[in-house]
């Protein structure tokens, strides 16, 4: 971050600058988190510039090169660095394009789950009474099912496909956000600054969104990060089971599903897509751990 960007902010709001600085101080102590962030940024770049980076289009088939092993193995060539799949498509190119799907899935699912969870959690925690009971019973109900099973059943109702899979996963992950927001709102609601805002004549909507919500952000950010990686895993699992993104979409889970029958003949078709999932999820979880350390004052040592 450059000085010129920070300077005007610092002039207007000195607290925010020190806040950001403290945050980075605590975040960067955690080496794993910094590595995770670095890998995540690389992944975002790979997704953004996939058409420039990928040597081939993700759906181009080379009929002369089925199941070609990766370059370093006997029979492989630098033409296809990570080898080709059973129908002669370049695995590296498909993985690069696949990064787009995984990051899109994470972003869409977290946005949907956050929006739903914040709205329901705010309503439940702010109004209490029957609104609270009704909302939280439904949340408990969603949590009573194993998440993947519920997602499977929802996709059965909605029909297989990437978008429906994202909807289903968002619905399954959303109660965690609602619970968090509700707990935070209940803790904050009786604080003096909220009472003061109320006395000053702030309406319900303003109290909820402008006064209380910004003070509940820390746990939400951490949960959001963890849900991001969870969403990628679950979407890949749905794709693997044949109910998520449909072939020939270069989604990593779907790639694994179509590679399954070749596992004993061509290890690379199976290994690389899974490795891509693992690296992505791991990087995001590392960042999540770092964020928790940096944002949770209870864990700070100083």
């Amino acid at each position: 971050m450059s000085q010129t960007e920070i300077a005007p902010m610092a002039a207007g709001n000195p607290d925010r600058l020190t806040g950001l600085k403290t945050f980075w101080h605590y975040f960067s102590v955690n080496r794993g988190a910094v590595i995770g962030l670095f890998v995540f940024i690389l992944l975002v770049l790979a997704a953004l510039f996939a058409p420039l980076l990928a040597p081939y289009a993700p759906d181009v088939q080379d009929k002369t090169a089925f199941l070609r092993p990766p370059a370093w193995q006997a029979g492989g060539s630098t033409q296809y660095l990570l080898g080709t799949d059973p129908v002669g498509r370049d695995i590296l190119s498909r993985l690069l394009y696949g990064a787009r799907f995984s990051l899109l899935i994470g972003a869409v699912v977290v946005t949907l789950a956050l929006t739903g969870g914040i709205t329901l959690g705010l309503l439940a925690g702010y109004f209490r009474g029957w609104v609270d009971v009704a909302i939280m019973r439904v949340m408990d109900l969603i949590l009573a099912f194993p998440s993947l099973l519920l997602a499977l059943v929802l996709v059965t109702i909605l029909g297989p496909g990437l978008f429906n899979a994202m909807l289903a996963i968002a619905l399954v992950l959303q109660p965690h956000f609602a619970r968090l927001v509700r707990a935070a709102v209940m803790a904050e609601k009786s604080r003096e600054y909220v009472v003061a805002a109320k006395v000053a004549g702030a309406g319900h909507l303003r109290l909820m969104l402008a006064t209380i919500l910004p003070n509940c952000l820390a746990p939400l950010i951490v949960q959001g990060t963890l849900s991001f990686s969870n969403a990628i895993l679950e979407a890949a699992a749905l794709g693997f089971l044949g109910l998520g993104a449909q072939p020939p979409t270069p989604e990593w889970g779907t790639m694994l599903a179509s590679a399954r029958e070749f596992i004993l003949r061509a290890w690379w078709v199976v290994t690389f897509p899974g490795l891509a999932i693992l690296i992505t999820v791991l990087a995001i979880n590392l960042v999540g751990d770092g964020l928790r350390d940096a944002l949770d004052p209870k864990l700070r040592r100083s």
Partner: protein
Amino acid sequence: MLRYLLNKIALLIPTLVGITICAFAFVRLLPGDPILAMAGEHGVAPARYEELKQQFGYNLPIWEQYARYVGEVATGDFGVSISSKRPVLEEFKTLFPATLELSFFAMVFAMLLGIPAGIVAAVKRGSWFDQSLMGTALVGYSMPIFWWGLLLIIFFSGYLGWTPVSGRIGLQFFFKPITGFMTIDTLIYGKWDAFRSALSHLVLPAIVLGTIPLAVIARQTRSAMLEVLGEDYVRTARAKGLSGARVIGVHALRNALIPVVTTIGLQVGTLLAGAILTETIFAWPGIGKWMVDSIFKRDYVVVQSGLLLIALIVMAVNLIVDVLYAVINPRIRAA
């Protein structure tokens, strides 16, 4: 204690009602006509259609249909599978022990490795062991287990040829199940080669299913242990001159295990979700594979009842964990 128990059970009633509503709604939310959806790809003759409509009560008002459904479920009638023509409950009873056996060994694997590893990591906080263990745990926690299963198959079944690729036991072995646990049944019959076959089929799926619980348990044990090691009574025990092993093993561990027990209980949902993937990869004939297969066969009676039964199991296990927790920790009961 009794009051605590009754209170817990009372709190479950809305969830129970909700679960039945979900299962009830599932068939009705499927795109298209529910009877045609349940009949599957083959379709159904018009006369039979009317008959089925009567039989399932689709001509009744919706709340009467629901009451009927709850009545059926309460009397143990979970419908008949369209593809196998067998009662769903009967199928469930034959398949569930397979999932139970797999989950049990997965959990044993996770606990046997996770708890000691977590303890050592906490005692040697900051050491290379601690750091590499926590790193490995995070990798395990981030693992797409369906891929992990395939990798293990490539290595142990393909490359080394040590374990079979799929199934529960070699096809040459056949006997009437007693407990439904292959590892126990083979021992009861005294067939050692069958026992070895069952065990070799079980190893890889159990490791795959146990991986995420292992990571969670190791992390949880470590942090619970760290917290307890900082407590006054541990310092007192040390000050009394007790040996390090006794302080850690008796004073600290007993208290650190309380949150770990809860974590283990909370893993049941994870296990059942994981079973869906693990059983699919290893062709393990349990309820996870049964659900996935039924979705693809459009056997929606099975999906509906499976959803209900699995949710009931998760609920029951959570209740047991709550009660156990109250037994171990009297402070919970008072609250």
